[in-house]
């Protein structure tokens, strides 16, 4: 009786899993079909919304070498001298470095601001200030200070990613139950130990959600960061192809950005579940 129960359950869960995957795939297919139908019926000028086919072609072309015109013996490889995946990789590197610094600095700053009240009063206004600054407004200043190389781009991504992490950390800490901290101190933890062993893990879910938001944020900032001298870089490619009215390539870039961001986000969600398994179960 118990065994069949388990088998039945296993079967059911396999079916459920399958249907779950089906739903996602179905939703994707639906989107592509609608897109295709709209373009096939010529409801929109292909200059603005090219067909799925031509976007796919742009994607393939951007990852291969091909003659510049049919029959010509001049071969060009990728777009703007780099393959699309190289552009993506370059942007990912910048985001990775920027996020890395942002996580370290944001969490540290968050902890400091949450514990030192007077520093909080002095620095928090600036964090909130930076949080609202349009990247396009101050990228010029960053270029002036850090040059047109990767440094200014990474600074921009860093400045975009840092404030949400600081805020999430501060908010997470203010939400830590005082009983937990008091209990740790009564058990012999010093201020530092209580931080490391109790406040930090209690804040972890909040920090992770801050990181998640920050990564999304850096993706939206990547075009602004790569506007000048951003090649190779997927944001720069998206912008440049737009100015050349190469809409299929622009849309291919946007889709690639979206998919990469989506995958990265999934990774973070997975990681979050791994490091904070207790969330939602208390």
């Amino acid at each position: 009786m118990r065994k069949t129960g388990t088998m039945k359950q296993r079967m059911l869960s396999t079916i459920a899993n399958g249907s779950r995957r089906l739903q996602s795939i179905f939703s994707l297919i639906l989107l592509i079909v609608v897109w295709w139908a709209v373009t096939a019926a010529k409801l929109v000028n292909p200059l603005y919304l090219p067909s799925p086919g031509s976007v796919w072609n742009a994607l393939v072309k951007a990852n291969n070498c091909h003659p510049i015109t049919q029959g010509s013996n001049k071969i060009v490889c990728g777009e703007q001298e780099y393959f699309l995946w190289q552009h993506l990789l370059a942007s990912l590197q910048r985001i990775g470095v920027g996020m890395g610094f942002a996580i370290i600095a944001g969490v540290l700053l968050g902890f400091i601001l949450a514990s030192v009240t007077w520093l909080n009063r002095i620095i928090m206004p600036y964090v909130n200030f930076i949080r609202a600054l349009p990247p396009l407004g101050y990228i010029g200043l960053l270029i002036v200070w850090f040059g047109i190389g990767d440094t200014s781009k990474i600074w921009l991504l860093f400045l975009a990613a840092c404030p949400p992490i600081v805020l999430a950390t501060v908010e997470g800490i203010s939400g830590v139950s005082t009983d937990r901290v008091n209990s740790a101190k009564s058990l012999g933890a010093g201020t530092l130990q209580a931080f490391v062993h109790v406040v930090f893990p209690s804040t972890l879910p909040s920090i992770m959600s801050g990181i998640r938001l920050a990564v999304g944020f850096t993706w939206t900032t990547v075009v602004a960061a790569e506007l000048n001298n951003g090649i190779p870089g997927i944001g720069a490619l998206a912008y440049l192809s737009g100015t050349q009215l190469n809409t299929p390539l622009t849309i291919a870039c946007i889709i690639v950005i979206g998919i990469a961001a989506f995958a990265l986000d999934g990774l973070i969600v997975l990681l979050t579940r791994m490091v904070t398994p207790w969330v939602g179960r208390e």
Partner: protein, 330 residues
């Protein structure tokens, strides 16, 4: 740094190009160049790696920019040595309040029909017919300067039309929706609008005739001139060779440019018609006879718009003619 796609795939076909002018073995270090996606000989040089071949002991660094303003900013932060900018940012950079330590080195092209005013309504014969209408133009561009000049030449004022700041690639959509009546713009958008029922009202060629010429030019920093005079000269010689190619072998030149722009060689050849590409000999004359005056006029116009604080007494010191004159003699 990342390996380029052609190296990665083994399809590299440009590195075999030989240097067409005297090879400069003297210049060393890094030469930082700012380039923009404009159909002129600079892209031929870049595509064929001519500078790399002609100055073999230096590292050539190509940095792409989107507007003259950005290039000027890069000069200020000492991030580039040589760079392409339109004539109005060039004038601004050497006038107050900026007073950057840069000189004008080269004219890549003189803008003619390449930047034109197209209108929806084919009955608009002159800019006067567009009074009260919506005209789109990218603010701060050479087209913006030409449009304002055209308006003032016609005795109009910027308030007698409705100016809309619009990026070229957004114009086609606004055009299709009927949100703009006219636009002063360049290719590929210009061709799109013409194909989409637009008719040309006037162009930068016409405004140039009336004394408000616009150019794409190369700026070079004083520091770089002082440190590498020979490299500056080699650069000029290479550009001069490339400009010659546009006249002598337009098919190959168009192939190179289209490879850089990411469009088709056919489109590039159409664009060639909208510009004139003076060679070093012609430029040598333009630099000494016309440019100081044109710069002064431009500066006066910009000051009237509130874009400049003061007009320089003389713009000749802002021009670097040594290299052009030398190349012109060869």
């Amino acid at each position: 740094a990342m390996q380029k796609a052609d190296q990665l795939s083994g399809a590299s076909n440009a590195s075999s190009e030989k240097c067409p002018v005297t090879v400069n073995k003297e210049a060393k270090g890094t030469i930082r160049i700012a380039w923009q996606a404009i159909a002129n000989a600079d892209l031929v040089v870049k595509d064929r790696k001519l500078l790399e071949a002609c100055i073999p002991n230096a590292t050539i660094q190509w940095n792409q920019f989107n507007s003259g303003g950005d290039v000027v900013q890069a000069f200020g932060s000492r991030s580039v040595d040589i760079g392409l900018a339109g004539s109005s940012p060039a004038v601004k950079s050497v006038s107050a309040p900026l007073n950057l330590k840069v000189k004008v080195l080269w004219i890549h092209d003189i803008i003619g029909e390449a930047e034109s005013l197209v209108a929806h309504n084919s009955s608009a014969k002159s800019i006067k017919d567009l009074a009260g209408k919506n005209i789109a133009v990218p603010f701060g561009s050479t087209s913006h300067f030409s449009l304002l000049s055209a308006l003032s030449q016609a005795g109009m004022d910027s308030s007698s039309v409705h100016l809309i700041n619009l990026d070229p690639d957004k114009m086609a959509a606004a055009w299709g929706r009927g949100e703009i009546d006219a636009a002063w713009v360049w290719d590929p958008v210009l061709s799109k609008l013409k194909a989409d029922g637009g008719s040309v009202v006037t162009s930068s060629a016409a405004t140039a005739k009336n004394g408000a010429a616009t150019f794409d030019m190369e700026l070079v920093s004083d520091d770089f001139i002082k440190a590498n005079p020979s490299a500056v000269e080699t650069w000029t010689a290479v550009e001069n060779y490339a400009i010659g190619l546009i006249a002598s072998d337009p098919d190959n030149a168009a192939d190179s440019i289209s490879a850089q722009l990411g469009n088709s060689p056919k489109d590039v050849k159409v664009q060639f018609k909208g510009y004139s590409y003076p060679d070093a000999a012609e430029q040598s004359k333009i630099f000494s006879d016309q440019l100081p005056g044109i710069f002064k006029a431009t500066a006066q116009f910009l000051k009237g718009q509130g874009d400049l604080d003061a007009v320089n007494a003389d713009y000749a010191p802002a021009l670097y003619t040594t290299a052009i004159d030398a190349v012109a003699k060869q």
